[in-house]
């Protein structure tokens, strides 16, 4: 097993060892959102023709959980390793910065997908989902998880204290995910806020992911794929550059 494979294994094992906290808890949170919102809005809101509000909401919640947990995985692992000092064990071996990046991002995707899938599986008995285009679902799940995993790497490298990471999560990640169309279609927003939503990359992840279930979306899935792929490419280059110069990792 090479350095990359071991780092990936270690990152997956790390979240799996505390899966009650890292997997079960976010699934429960998503289910509570679903129960409350569907109870309150099911009879009052209809976003797409022939799609109930609960069905509309579920993929968004699953994707939101996937994205938030992908971010949490890489960012929390890095900040913990930095604060406790055990990051030295990953910096001393002959692991290249590209391998380092890939291992953290893949582990983040793994946790995101486990949580997102958990949300969908836990509601199979409750909500009817058509799963019209599984490849779109898979593509946006992987790309969304990768983007948030890479953002987690950036945040984990940048933050020196837990409260800095919490600020990143609460003031950037949370607003972007909550204002991305998880709970509504952006067509229900005033024109100004519709335009603003188009600058939120998470909107495209949610919209493209949802398209995979219903075959309808606010924008074309190809547009979403282009935006999300572009964001991932840019973020990858930026993160690799940070790792190459050793920003806040190597003095």
């Amino acid at each position: 097993m090479g350095g990359f494979a071991t780092l990936l294994y270690k990152e997956v094992l790390r979240f799996w060892k505390v899966s009650f906290q890292t997997v079960a808890a976010p699934i429960l949170t998503a289910l509570l959102f679903l129960l409350i919102f569907s109870h309150v809005l099911e009879r009052h809101v209809r976003v797409y023709e022939n799609v109930s509000y609960t069905s509309f909401l579920l993929p968004g919640l699953a994707m939101m959980s996937l994205l938030q947990n992908a971010f949490a995985n890489s960012s929390s692992s890095l900040i913990q390793s930095k604060v406790t000092g055990n990051i030295i064990f990953m910096l001393l071996p002959p692991i290249s910065y590209a391998q380092f990046f890939a291992a953290f991002v893949l582990a983040a995707i793994a946790r995101g997908i486990v949580v997102g899938l958990g949300v969908l599986l836990a509601t199979l008995w409750l909500v009817d989902l058509p799963w019209q285009a599984p490849l779109w679902i898979l593509a946006f799940a992987l790309l969304g998880g990768a983007i948030m995993g890479a953002m987690g790497v950036v945040a984990g490298i940048w933050a020196e204290k837990f409260d800095q990471l919490a600020a990143f999560q609460n003031f950037i990640i949370m607003p972007l995910t909550f204002l991305s169309g998880v709970f509504y279609s952006i067509h229900s927003l005033p024109p100004f806020w519709q335009q603003v939503s188009h600058f939120n990359p998470i909107f495209y992840m949610i919209d493209g992911f949802r398209h995979g279930f219903f075959g309808v979306s606010d924008v074309s899935p190809w547009t979403s794929l282009g935006v999300v792929s572009g964001c991932f490419a840019a973020l990858t280059l930026f993160t690799l550059w940070l790792l190459r110069i050793g920003y806040k990792l190597r003095a």
Binding site: M1, G2, G3, A5, T6, L7, Y9, K10, L13, R14, K17, V18, S81, T84, G85, N86, I88, F89, M90, L91, L92, P93, P94, I95, S96, G246, R250, A251
Partner: protein
């Protein structure tokens, strides 16, 4: 055969603080080398630069001929570092920690060697214990084990025995000596100077980022220390005039007479006899590294 470690003109500043001021140093393969200095002298910065954790502002470092910047993967494969800080990953057991560390170096099945390391560091019984549940001394020994999992040619130990009890310290040094006999190059930093004196064949002393002494341990002891005669005289007895210039005051009213060689003992005793001095207690002091260290730091 090239040197195990080559350091050429390495300089590092942290803001206005000069951590390393142009270090040149070579450590031969198979050496047991000591790196000594007071806190803040630059020892850990130098080790970190060697390990690629700190990037020098100028200069080059190489491990077994591999540049730590341009050929970092080969250099890191040949280097094992025991960090000074007591750090550990709280998610894993001792054995998991060592398996993961082996994997980072591309070693798939390392069970036999891990077992041997655990045995030598008296950690076998704790192999399946979570790192959080270990005492400070045990965690320190796991750090040593982590540095050894990939059988590096060069092993750097930064304060490896801090917090480790005497018995286990002896066991650890026995193991490290064996690795040194097997051909591994050892670089040690420690504040236990008696350990450095008994283990290291050559020593560099750092002060404020510069090497202020570099020689074999024997030469340093000879140059900066020597035998001494510790005397406690009877009440009302004064030292003879001929000895006074060479005597300094020791603890508890002792007189400490520095000796150029052991042959001077007889001459000193003859002087005392001639002067009719009554001697209550007498002891021959051997050269020690602590004295060398203090003198070098005063001078440097």
């Amino acid at each position: 055969m090239g040197p195990a470690i080559r350091i050429e003109g390495v300089t590092k500043r942290f803001g206005s603080v000069l951590a390393l001021g142009g270090i040149d140093l070579e450590v031969a393969q198979g050496e047991f080398f000591g790196l000594l200095g007071p806190n803040g002298a630059g020892k850990t910065t130098l080790i970190s630069a060697l390990a690629g954790l700190v990037r020098p502002d100028a200069g080059r470092l190489a491990v077994m001929g591999h540049d730590v910047a341009s050929d970092y993967r080969a250099a890191r494969r040949l280097l094992g570092v025991v960090p000074q800080e007591l750090v550990f990953d709280p998610f894993f057991t001792v054995r998991e920690t060592l398996r993961i560390q082996s994997g980072y170096f591309g070693i798939h099945d390392n069970s036999d060697w891990i077992g041997e390391i655990l045995e030598n560091l008296d950690l076998t019984e704790k192999a399946n214990t979570n790192m959080r549940q270990l005492s400070g001394g045990m965690k320190r020994r796991v750090l040593v084990a982590q540095a050894l999992v990939h059988r590096p040619s060069v092993i750097v130990l930064d304060e490896p025995t801090a917090g480790v009890d005497v018995e286990l310290r002896q066991a650890l040094w026995g193991f490290i000596r064996r690795l040194n006999r097997d051909g591994h190059t050892i670089v040690l930093t420690t504040h236990y100077l008696e350990e450095a004196e008994s283990l290291c064949g050559r020593i560099a002393m750092l002060k404020q980022g510069r090497i202020v002494a570099l020689d074999t341990t024997a030469n340093l002891l000879q140059r900066f220390s020597g035998h001494s005669l510790r005397l406690r005289l009877g009440a009302g007895t004064a030292l003879p005039e001929s000895l006074r210039a060479r005597v300094s005051a020791g603890p508890g009213g002792e007189h400490v007479l520095a000796l150029g060689s052991c042959g001077e003992i007889e001459l000193a005793l003859a002087c005392l006899r001639e002067a009719g001095c009554s001697v209550e207690d007498i002891e021959i002091g051997k050269p020690d590294l602590e004295e060398v260290f203090l003198r070098v730091m005063e001078r440097g």
